[in-house]
């Protein structure tokens, strides 16, 4: 089974073109030419003809193997990788055949920040986080930052539903030497409808759902019609969680928000607890899109810690482990310090 790889050759000098997140255009690193998406698309036909067709086949272990069009090296790509790099000459390779048919994304949010931006952002992660172990600020570890287009499903829902809320109103007053507490209990019912647009769900099992949740939100205003050209210079994955499977999470989130909205409409009580709810989510539209993420893995105490930066907004997330030595040092010094301060204060006030 023959497969094609495609990389973008500079129409002027035939060197590899990479997407430039800052200019949202394509820059040739050799001759300095810059191209817009329209320019590239016009030349794509010519380009494709020029590009040699390279055999991509499965080896005996079932791995995808392709030949780098630039240096001729045999490169192994994982099943889900749809854009990658030649490990020898760093040429970009977009494995176009992996993004066809049902794997063809409708939209893409192009990277807006560069690897350098991501590295700088990560360097600032230690600010205000004194319990971070030293290895997390080691430049050697940070330079492994990888730009990946991650497959996401987005869903539009029309939602209608109702909730039963147990509401309490507590009033308290003093009467005849007694503290009297009066609790009025109400049973409240609310029904309504609302709509949600582009609720995102991570479509790849390679990336932790909670990390992908944490880099939200995305600015969907910058959603572009998908073009392979955006992948140039980055890694890309194709989904391995299908739309139906992924929609469970979107529906749960949508239901929870709807319940919250309806419960919040129960006003004027001390507390309002949802007893039961009946929410119906009607799928209006779903799309397969690619989201830009800078990924970084750092090893600490034999455990891998994953970090991700939203390639559009620059939001950096990840759980940093606690340096236990530093934590104890902080605990002891704050305890001793505040003890001495309190002692002085209390002695001055004459409380001791």
């Amino acid at each position: 089974m023959a497969k094609n790889t495609l990389d973008h050759k500079c129409p002027s000098c035939s060197a590899t073109l990479k997407f430039n997140p800052h200019g949202q255009n394509w820059v040739c690193e050799y001759c300095g030419s810059e191209f817009k998406l329209e320019d590239l698309e016009k030349k794509t036909e010519k380009l494709t003809k020029k590009t040699e067709e390279v055999k991509v086949y499965k080896d005996q272990d079932g791995m995808d193997v392709y030949t780098c069009p630039n240096c001729g090296a045999q490169i192994i790509a994982s099943e889900e990788e749809s854009a990658t790099f030649c490990v020898y000459c760093r040429s970009t390779a977009i494995l176009k055949n992996k993004l066809v048919g049902k794997f063809n994304p409708s939209f893409v949010i192009p990277f807006k920040n560069t690897k350098e931006d991501a590295i700088q952002a990560f360097k600032k992660i230690g600010k205000g986080r004194p319990l971070m172990p030293k290895v997390f600020s080691d430049p050697k570890n940070i330079n492994d930052m990888k730009g990946v287009y991650i497959p996401f499903w987005i869903y539009d829902y029309d939602v209608s539903g109702s909730v039963n809320v147990d509401a309490k109103r507590v009033t308290s007053y003093i009467s005849g030497g007694y503290q009297v507490t009066k609790t009025d209990i109400y049973d409240c019912y609310r029904a309504g409808n609302m709509s949600y647009t582009k609720v995102p769900v991570d479509g790849s099992t390679h990336f932790d759902d909670d990390i992908m949740d944490s880099i939200e939100p995305f600015d969907y205003e910058e959603l572009k019609e998908f073009s392979y050209s955006y992948l140039s210079g980055f890694f890309a994955e194709k989904y391995d969680v299908d739309s139906d499977q992924a929609s469970e999470r979107a529906i749960n989130r949508t239901k929870n928000s709807t319940v919250d909205i309806l419960r919040d409409d129960v006003k004027g009580y001390t507390s309002a607890t949802v007893k039961s709810s009946d929410i119906d989510c009607k799928l209006i539209k779903n799309d397969y899109i690619l989201i830009p993420v800078w990924m970084l893995n750092i090893k600490y105490n034999d455990k891998l810690y994953k970090f991700a930066m939203n390639g559009q907004t620059g939001k950096m997330v990840g759980n940093i482990p606690i340096d236990k030595k530093k934590a104890w040092l902080y605990f002891l010094s704050i305890t001793c310090g505040s003890f001495i301060l309190l002692l002085v204060l209390f002695l001055l006030l004459g409380w001791l």
Binding site: G128, R129, L131, M132, A167, I174, G177, Y178, Q179, V180, T181, K182, T183, D184, I185, Y186, D187, C188, Y189, R190, A191, G192, N193, M194, S195, Y196, T197, K198, V199, D208, D209, D210, I211, S214, P217, A250, R253, T254, N256, S257, D260, L262, D265, M316, V317, G318, N319, I320, I322, Y330, F331, I334, T335, S338, F339, L342, L343, F346, W351, L352
Partner: protein, 256 residues
């Protein structure tokens, strides 16, 4: 007839003896030493005045010294001391904190004195019954040579036996609060290192202009009422009595 007499007697008995208590009125409560019995020299009075002023400065409570020659017994000198202190307005702060010593000297020739040591306000807790006993014991045992030495001994004992009430709450706060503070600070710092949170809602993707609440119904079910009696505070380890002015005092009057 006998019954009527009994009632009259009973009525007389519940009227305090010192209802028309005689006390010596003073103009300036800054003066702490009143030697009505004239048993102290001018220099001795001055010395005690200074001691009382220092005592007030340091312990935030008054020290009043009175000598009389009126032929009072123990309970009379006690009532006199209370009234002298209360009606003249001695004492520090809102609760009129202070200690007064009043010495009846009419029988001093026989080395016999009637003395009252009375405490007011916060001083009541500073000198519990056992401290008052110790002060009296020294006045008795030491066989002070004359009133001057007696008062001097008293001023020293007033400092020595002054029991600063242990502020357990302050000690508790002093020990516990630093741990609470560092616990909170550490908690915040640890929380800062956790940036990953699973999303459970989709509120960011809700079309806020497109929310229609179609049905609202609030149905009253029932009312619960709880009543808790309000606690009043309880007092500590000094026995007190009230003077004619109605002010509480600790201490007492004794024959020494």
């Amino acid at each position: 007839m006998k019954k009527i007499l009994y009632y009259i007697l009973a009525t007389l008995m519940i009227i305090p003896i010192n209802i028309n208590a005689y006390y010596d009125k003073v103009d300036d409560t800054d003066q702490k030493v009143y030697d009505y019995a004239e048993v102290l020299s001018k220099n001795e009075e001055k010395e005690f005045q200074e001691i009382a002023e220092n005592f007030l400065d340091k312990y935030k409570m008054d020290m009043v010294i009175v000598t009389v020659n009126k032929g009072y017994n123990s309970s009379q000198i006690e009532a006199y001391a209370d009234d002298f202190y209360d009606y003249n307005g001695f004492g520090y702060g809102k609760t009129n904190d202070g200690i007064i010593i009043a010495i009846e000297t009419y029988d001093m020739e026989n080395d016999s004195y009637y003395i009252a040591v009375e405490t007011t306000g916060k001083a009541i807790k500073n000198y519990t019954d056992s401290e008052i006993d110790k002060i009296f014991e020294n006045l008795k045992k030491n066989k002070y040579d004359g009133v001057y030495e007696m008062i001097l001994g008293f001023t020293k004992d007033a400092i020595k036996y002054r029991k600063a009430p242990i502020n357990f709450l302050a000690y508790f706060i002093l020990i516990a609060l630093p741990f609470v503070i560092s616990g909170i600070v550490l908690g915040i710092l640890i929380a800062k290192n956790r940036m990953v949170k699973k999303a459970v809602t989709a509120s960011a993707y809700l079309n806020k202009d497109d929310i229609n609440i179609t049905a609202k119904e609030d149905r009253f079910i029932t009312t619960h009422v709880t009543r808790v009696p309000i606690n009043t505070g309880s007092s500590g380890g000094s026995s007190t009595h009230r003077g004619s002015s109605g002010v509480s005092h600790g201490g007492g009057g004794r024959h020494v």
